[in-house]
Amino acid sequence: MLEFDGLHKSYGANHVLDGVGFAVAPGSMFGFCGSNGAGKTTTMRIAMGLARADAGEVRWGGTPLDDDVRRRIGYMPEERGLYPKMRVGEQLAYFARLHGLDAKAAARASDEWAERLGVGARRKDPVEKLSLGNQQRVQLAAALVSRPEVLILDEPFSGLDPVGVDALAEALLDQCRQGVPVVFSSHQLDLVERLCDSVGILARGRIVASGTVTDLRRREAGRLLRVVVPEARPGWAAALPGVRTVSEQAGDTLLELLPGTDDQAVLAAALRTGPVRHFAWREPTLVELFREAVADEPTEVAA
């Protein structure tokens, strides 16, 4: 288990982290979401020993992370960085060796990962000659090349084209299948939704929602109802008690039902307008969950 436990960090008067905690099981993927400046990068930097937590710790397999454990973690910093004038293959081998592989294993791993991430043909080129997308792939290869036990990736998908996204997603899923816990942060919530077993949403230094995507959905579900009634006149649902019309377009209506409202009453009303083509609870997307979670906090505090 990779555990982030009660992390606190402040820079001067600015409390960046205020008790961040979550756990990632081996072989599962954890998506780390949050608006800019929410503290994702700081959390990951603390895990990698690049920043010191004021309180709390990060554990892998029950032991707090130290330099030896960190060497077995593949890391991709938010600020991308490689030696611009060093060749791709040599660079990957160098990072593999820094993580403790011997020269031969490092060279082999370098070749393998350059190939797998589609930059095999550019092994002999200096990194600065590569396109930004390919540099990004090399960066990922640098995180993966040491056969890490844990992966911590800060915005790994940003800047990749769809093909690159697929290649990376496949590589990460493959790592998961081998039992590696993967933590990555991303603004691309559709990707997080597609790839992750569980999600944590960070806002103002705290995890405001976490769990599997299904769990989160269930929490928010039962509120949005999509009804398609092609022959209904506009505003057909306005008079129904406990129902608020979220959107309406040519009979395709999204309704929010207040707690206690009978959905069968809504169905009856819909049938009165003519044929009903669609009637179902709508699962909120992660984007909606995210907005909800991030927006909820101040109102809760205010209330």
Binding site: L82, H99, R147
Partner: protein, 394 residues
């Protein structure tokens, strides 16, 4: 899953970093061109020395008749005067005159063993006159004594050329050339360290590096890797210089030359450790190569000042300025070799200067390392020195 993986020791990490630094520099075209230029300049200086020294110290002397009697006397005189003399046999006076006029020989000696020896010269040449005069006199005295049946037991004269002054001058000249070289190499390699630090910061690769190692390991690897390269370069130059000087006989006292060069190499190591740590600490404060110049100004000024003082010291190695700055860490690596070469520095003075230097290195490495560690991850803009000292891994 972790097969082939074992936690590398600190030494292994430092070695990995050092190897990368050295190999990436060795592939740098600018570095290679710079190194070749230094060697070419050095060879040029030596060629100039050879050309300048060859004319005056060689002489061809024509001797009429049988030279066997006077040749040993001529050669021993030539040795004393430091002239490389070759003796040519000529048939008669007319041939001698012709040879001198044709400049086949520098001078011709007529009737060497007879009662009226005569030296033919194109013009006046005090050195040759003294040489031949002395030789003829010696040969004549020897001959007359032998004819009188006197067996003289002449004590063999041990010749000790009292050329200490000239030897000292030469050593000082070697020291000055060496100090120039030392300055060039120090500023070059200290700059390399500084550029390397900023390159890692500006490319942000430093964050990835620091997730696998401590700042001091990175700094140590960088300084050692480039230091080995610098040492290699100075060793090649020194070997070339000493070898060339000995092969072409440019120096009178080879022992002094070797001693001076060894001292310069040793002081290079001390100076490099000091300035590399200083430059690295300063460089870590900025994140862009463009800002490097301004932040390196104070440290470069120190190095330049040391160089200027060392030139002054070579003119007056026993003077107050040279004596004081010889002990001053930072100045000592440039000034001390000059003083040592001039024979002005006692052993205890050298020892004390080296000790002070080592203490200063220990201090600068700690301080520079701390600034480096504190400033390394602050990749936005310029970090204030005090902030970096306080931060140390915030």
């Amino acid at each position: 899953m972790t097969a082939g993986t074992r936690p590398p020791s600190s030494a292994a990490m430092v070695r990995l970093v050092a190897a990368r630094e050295a190999s990436s520099r060795l592939r740098d075209k600018n570095f290679l061109i710079g190194s070749i230029v230094i060697v070419v300049v050095l060879v040029g200086i030596m060629a100039f020395q050879i050309a300048a020294s060859s004319g005056s110290e060689q002489a061809r002397l024509g001797v009429v008749g049988e030279p066997a009697e006077v040749e040993p006397a001529l050669q021993s005189q030539a040795d004393v005067l430091g002239i490389d003399l070759s003796v040519v046999r000529l048939d008669d006076d007319a041939a001698a005159r012709a040879a001198v006029e044709a400049e086949d020989v520098d001078a011709a000696l007529l009737d060497p063993a007879g009662p009226r020896p005569e030296l033919l010269l194109p013009g006046s040449d005090a050195q040759l006159e003294a040489l031949v005069g002395g030789a003829v006199t010696n040969a004549s005295i020897g001959g007359q004594l032998a004819a009188a049946g006197v067996q003289l037991d002449v004590p063999e004269l041990a010749v000790t050329p009292l050329e200490q002054d000239e030897g000292g001058d030469q050593a000082a000249a070697v020291a000055l050339i060496s100090v120039g070289l030392l300055y060039g190499l120090l500023i070059m390699f200290a700059q390399f360290v500084a550029q390397g630090v900023v390159e890692e910061k500006s490319s942000r690769v430093v964050e990835l590096l620091l997730s696998t190692m401590k700042p001091w390991q990175l700094l140590a690897g960088k300084i050692i890797g480039l230091g080995v390269l610098g040492l290699g370069q100075i060793a090649i130059i020194a070997a070339l210089g000493v070898g060339g000087a000995l092969a072409f006989d440019l120096v009178d006292v080879p022992g002094d030359l070797v001693g001076t060069v060894l001292a310069v190499v040793a002081w290079f190591l001390l100076g490099y450790a000091f300035y590399a740590a200083l430059f690295a600490g300063a460089a870590s404060l900025v994140s862009r190569q463009e800002d490097l110049g301004s932040v390196l100004t104070p440290t470069s000024m120190l190095l330049i000042a040391a160089f200027v003082v060392s030139i002054q010291a070579s003119a007056d190695p026993g003077g107050g300025l040279a004596t004081v700055t010889g002990f001053l860490p930072g100045f000592a690596p440039m000034v001390m070799p000059v003083r040592m070469a001039a024979g002005e520095a006692a052993a205890w003075e050298v020892g004390l200067a080296a000790l002070l230097m080592l203490v200063a290195i220990a201090l600068v490495v700690r301080l520079g390392g701390r600034v480096y560690a504190g400033a390394l991850l602050r990749t936005s803009g310029r970090v204030k020195l005090r902030e970096a000292m306080r931060a140390e891994h915030a």
